[in-house]
């Protein structure tokens, strides 16, 4: 008889994600979950359990270890959908200023250059060796218009 997990954050997460309660820590997801390689987890405290049971789940730095590979939800025998919960927690964390610094920097990079990764003079040199043109400038003005309208620009520029 499986024992139900008593989540500290249960009330909060359950309101939005009733399927969280179905999770009975069967650990099937841990078979395919890349995040279990990180330090904090054990057979009785898997990544998914850790994320679903944190007291203030949006402040849990472990949520950023999820790469949205969807393996946990595809293997879950009980249709718990951890990915949508984790993604919503990340959005909430970002909103409240708890996002991992790398995320904030990446967004800034995308909005100001149109590229998610930094462009360098070195790589333009390498591109030349392959007969390729230097990296082209992208339409940052359009990205600025979009991010202004959605409010993301203000959050990145004026964020905590």
């Amino acid at each position: 008889m499986p024992v139900k997990v008593q989540y500290k954050a249960k009330g909060k997460l359950l309101e939005k994600y009733p399927k969280v309660e179905i999770c009975m820590q069967c650990n099937t997801c841990a078979l395919v979950d890349p995040a279990i390689y990180a330090n904090d987890f054990s057979p009785t405290n898997t990544f998914i359990n850790n994320v679903l049971s944190a007291a203030e789940p949006e402040k849990n730095p472990n949520i950023w270890l999820c790469v949205s590979c969807h393996k946990c939800e595809e293997i879950c025998p009980y249709e718990v959908k951890p990915v949508e919960v984790i993604e919503a927690l990340k959005a909430e964390a970002f909103e409240k200023g708890y996002a991992h610094e790398a995320v904030r920097e990446e967004i800034r990079q995308v909005l100001t250059t149109g590229y998610a990764f930094p462009v360098s003079a070195y790589m333009n040199r390498v591109r030349g060796n392959f007969g390729l043109k230097p990296i082209e400038e992208r339409n940052v003005a359009d990205l600025d218009k979009i991010a202004t309208k959605t409010g993301l620009k203000a959050k990145v520029v004026g964020g905590k």
Binding site: V32, P34, A35, Y37, A38, N39, P61, W64, L65, C66, V67, S68, C69, H70, K71, E73, E74, I75, E87, K90, A91, A93, F94, A99, H100, A102, V103, E106, I107, V110, G114, Y115, A116, F117, P118, V119, S120, M123, V126, R127, F130, G131, L132, I135, E136, R138, N139, V140, D142, L143, K145, I146, A147, K149, T150, L152, K155
Partner: protein
């Protein structure tokens, strides 16, 4: 499907792996595919960092990219699992929810674009499978990669969610193995085929965990008798190449398993040299693999 595509280069290939961009032009050109350069494309945007924390901006920027392609009456070809994931998930979400589509169109209206949902998105491996066809790929091989055993790593975001990506079995994909065999090489049989490369662990605070993952996966690949890896996503490439280079300084054994983007392997099989496919820029170098390739 068409034989002319809008070339969605993404970010990582042009910025970090230009030799892959070069092999893409050369190999797909040889197979009769026309790649149209589209300067108006931006970052897809990257799904794990940007996409998740601000869903609406993610969808809006992606919708603008899709609109740019449809204005030219072209479907999109990608060279990255992440770009494919972003663009295909956007199509899925917007086509399913008219209200959301209208909202996104309202957001991108100032850019002069409008998403209608006409352009389709294909990863290059899907173009090879469903447009070009594996027989034509086989027939394009001039110097088979015989003697090499190659471990296929398909990567995560082209496989899942399977209802959206509709590419292959997320727990036992075989497409890439078939395309490795098409080049005359032997696909390696190993258990950890669908284990992630560990990019997010490396980037977001669990470097030791990422190294343990690399140690496990590369060890499993080595045990299978593989000479090298084949990937179809630039982040996977970098994690296995640069990541392996970093991890094997002290954290994991020296497996010395070179990593190739599938189109580099196709390029080699079509007759390109190791220099031409950019191997000299790889962090992991292995003389045994080089000698097998040169003895063909």
């Amino acid at each position: 499907m068409s034989r002319k595509y809008a070339f969605f280069k993404g970010c990582f290939v042009p910025v970090r792996l230009p030799w892959v961009e070069k092999s893409t032009y050369r190999t797909l050109g040889n197979l009769g595919i026309t790649l149209v350069d589209v300067n108006e494309f931006t970052c897809c945007p990257e799904p794990v960092g940007v996409g998740i924390v601000d869903n609406l901006t993610w969808l809006a920027i992606a919708a603008r990219n899709l609109a740019v392609a449809e204005e030219q009456n072209l479907d999109i070809i990608t060279v990255c699992n992440g770009c494919t994931y972003t663009l295909r998930n956007t199509i899925h979400k917007l086509d399913e929810d008219k209200e959301l589509k209208d909202k996104v169109n309202e957001i991108i209206a100032d850019t002069g674009h409008s998403y209608k949902g006409k352009a389709k998105v294909y990863h290059f491996i899907e173009v090879l499978r469903d447009d070009v066809g594996i027989e034509k790929v086989k027939n394009s091989v001039k110097r088979p990669l015989s003697g090499l055993t190659i471990a296929a790593h398909t990567g995560c975001h082209i496989l899942s969610p399977k209802e959206v990506m509709k590419f292959d079995n997320p727990f036992d994909p075989t497409t890439l193995d078939e395309f490795i065999a098409a080049l005359g090489a032997k696909p390696a049989d190993y258990d950890m085929k669908t284990l992630c490369c560990g990019w997010a662990l490396m980037t977001y605070g669990a470097r030791e965990g990422a190294y343990r993952l690399l140690g496990d996966k590369l060890g499993n690949i080595k045990d299978s008798g593989a000479d090298c890896l084949a990937v179809i996503c630039p982040q996977c490439f970098y994690q296995f190449d640069m990541g392996q280079f970093m991890a094997s300084r002290k954290d994991i054994p020296q497996y010395n398993l070179p990593v190739f983007f599938y189109l580099q392997l196709l390029d080699l099989a079509m007759g390109a040299s190791l220099e031409e496919v950019g191997y000299t820029y790889h962090k992991i170098q292995n003389l045994n693999v080089v000698s097998k390739l040169e003895k063909r």
